[in-house]
Subunit: 277 residues, 4 copies
């Protein structure tokens, strides 16, 4: 960027790093990817183990050392990514760029605020890199079908969740009025709404349960509502996935133009024409 004469070697070095870090076609690139994945998994395991009192007390120093090594590796990796890519700012503001940065910060944050270290599990999000690291062809295609199905149904799901919101609001308030005085669990409307969500989603912790007869009756109605209403998101996504599967499989016949062929079809099922033409 500064000197003009050694442009080619610099560019070559840059693109070499780019190839190693961003791609996985070369053996160096593959090695880097596997190493990165190991570092991510190790860093997560360390965070998990460190949160357990007994391990924290016994292996405190070991955990600290591993953590710094991992952070150092992540830092180098992040800087190399910024250096080797053509549009560093675009990367830095991209989804993966932000996660990569967030994976480094907590270790340093721990100096400033206590407990900041716990946020290190945001590194878990780095596991999403798996999809990038191994360019998992068929896996990505499968994942895309799921995402497109969800994307296609997001309007319906939003309306569904909005109705659920109104329902738990009304039921929560009703139960507060009914149970509030005799039952410590329903001591405020927000808590009652929390109970309504616990019940409607069929989670059923049992930390708050109705005590009055009318409260139990309404609870029973809420349960049956939740039990039946789960059919709605399921139906939405099922319908969308069936639709998606049909579309993905289909290609138009070059002879008659009709669609809906299976993936393994070699001839059109409508006119018998060769699909591979």
């Amino acid at each position: 960027m500064v000197s003009k004469t050694p442009q080619l070697p610099t560019k070559s070095r840059k693109s070499k790093i780019y190839e190693i870090i961003f791609e996985s076609d070369t053996s160096a690139g593959k090695f880097f990817d596997v190493a990165l994945l190991c570092f991510i998994v190790v860093s997560i395991i360390v965070v998990l183990l460190e949160s357990i009192q007994t391990y924290r007390d016994t292996y405190h120093l070991t955990f600290r050392i591993i953590e710094w090594i991992v952070t150092f590796f992540f830092l180098i990796e992040y800087l190399l990514r910024l250096y080797s890519i053509k549009q560093p700012l675009k990367y830095a503001l991209s989804f993966y760029g932000i996660i990569d940065l967030l994976a480094i910060l907590p270790t340093f944050l721990a100096f400033v605020i206590s407990g900041g270290q716990s946020l290190m599990v945001i590194r878990g999000l780095r596991l999403l890199r798996v999809f990038r690291i191994f360019k998992l062809g068929s896996f990505m295609a499968q994942g895309n079908i799921i995402l497109q199905s969800l994307n296609q149904s997001k309007g319906k799901i939003a309306i569904f969740l909005y109705f659920i919101l109104i329902i738990v609001l009304i039921i929560g308030s009703l139960m507060y009025v009914i149970e509030g005085e005799q039952n410590d669990g329903f001591d405020s409307i927000p808590t009652s709404i929390y109970w309504a969500i616990v019940t409607l989603t069929t989670v059923g912790y049992g930390d708050i349960t109705p005590a009055t007869n009318i409260g139990k009756f309404i609870s029973a109605l809420v349960m049956i509502l939740g039990y039946s209403v789960i059919a709605v998101p399921t139906g939405i996504v099922s319908a969308s996935m069936i639709n998606q599967a049909r579309k993905v499989n289909g290609q138009a016949c070059p002879h008659c133009g009709k669609e809906g062929h299976d993936n393994d079809a070699r001839f059109c099922k409508h006119c018998g024409g060769d699909l591979s033409v």
Copy 2:
């Protein structure tokens, strides 16, 4: 309505109010809609916060003032709606008309009966106005598909719920006979039915659990029944939604203009005309 001479200006004033309150094409109408939504949300938040002991004690006066302001605004709005619409009675007896009235009453009811204020959360139902306020084109279409699917399956779902009712009645009584004497939880058949619903819907609070071996065995059967039987409403709604989706995809017939054709239809099912023309 009374004087005949200033008819035109009155009508114009009326229709101007109508435009602002009932429609959202003008900028004044849009402003009104957003303001209304804010008032609804604020009123709900106040009711939620007021139900929490600590907030109620500290900000009692603030809550009361906001409540009266909101109620006053809702009252004015309700009267203007009655005044500006052509058929006030029809509006007053419509779904939204009753909700709008119910949103005002609780504040006044609080003078008559204590606790009446809590019913104020019926204002939550006013959130349904969102669909009206923003004439959410595609959202409404999506919502309609859900509603039509549910409407189409309501017969099947009613039968399903009727069977569930009979099942929990029988199981509840059976468990009362089995567990009743040794287990305080099953102290009456209604309570046992409540337990059966909690178990069949896979909510599983755990406030009442079987103690005897045979009781546990029957519980296990009920759980597996509930776990399998959830497939029924889900299947009903899924089948209905797929059907609905297929219809929605269809095109209008160029001959009779009717819609609802399957994707593979070549001729109109209403008039027999060629769809490919």
Copy 3:
């Protein structure tokens, strides 16, 4: 049956009773049906209320009187059914015949064994008569679609349940070995299997929960298994219902023989021919 001369009037009386009890075309038949339904509902409510201690103590005599009236009515009805029908034995051994008998017995059983009265809730099964009483045309059609779908999938569901059985057997034993010594909840394999069912079906009472780390880990796996595996019965029934819906709607075109027409179709979508010919 015995005397031959007064044959006609006897037959007419028999068939008159038959019409009233078994059919609902005449006004007398309708009145009988509604009365029967009321008696069924009243008898169930009495059993429910009587199981509650406070009500039992206060209204003991009232309950007893109502019970005897209802039982007497059911007895008369049962005898009249046997008398008026052409094949009494066939009725007596039919599904409804057995339920009708079981609805009468418990009151008498109460003399012989204590607690026998509680079995009276078998009367709940009489609610199934609703489907007979009101010859609920479209309702029955809808119910038939559900039953046929379930019937069609019963092989798949049986295999699914068999696998579930094996899974909970293995997991229950495994958890008994792991948790048995430290956790009172897992004190025998049958109890551990009960826990496995509670967990796999996502009921989750919480009366028995894992205490060890490895136990929690296995529990988590069981939960995720149960959460994913519920897709199997749901998928089975959904697929079957979609299939069923397609078949029920379809009729073959009299011109081209193709199927898959909608219920409201008047012309074939394949050849445009009139379906009503």
Copy 4:
């Protein structure tokens, strides 16, 4: 194998044993299969009962005797299988071969390590033999549809589970940071992840529940997420089963004999031949 002259009778004896043990066409073979099934069921029941303290104390000797008889029978059966089959090693390393061996070992293991006996419930896996024993034609076909559907969706389900893993990792860590100090339940990240799985899968034991307001709010979000997200595996399997059902319905091509045609196919997708010939 050793002597050459009595080859035929030996072979005949071998193949006779093979017929009895591996096949079920002869009456001897059928008797053996039913006897085997009885032994499997008896051995499982004994293990279940023995794990219950009271039964263990009372019937200790009986259980021991039955156990040794069953083990002896299983041992003989295993050796005969090895002897009569043509490729003993292939059988020994096959799925059923390993299970058959594992069914024998625990009784002997009990001498070496205490508690080893409990592993005997691995015999439960022998129940899978049911599918072999009765060559359940239509059952196997149904089971194959399920397995093929699951096989077809395994890519999508793997991705789904991977996302669930990342989600519970992040949510578990978040809740540890939020609840950790005030709530004994969230004393480490692994425990918090366990809670996240309990909540997301809607099991909801209630052994660990949020205590803080923000914790309850996040729990509510997790529940709604779990309640909606269950639609994904359900949709995947439903779509796959519908697809499978469609294929199963298809006919064989009269030209090339291949199957798997859609119901509306007019030409073979493999060879382009006319299916209606």
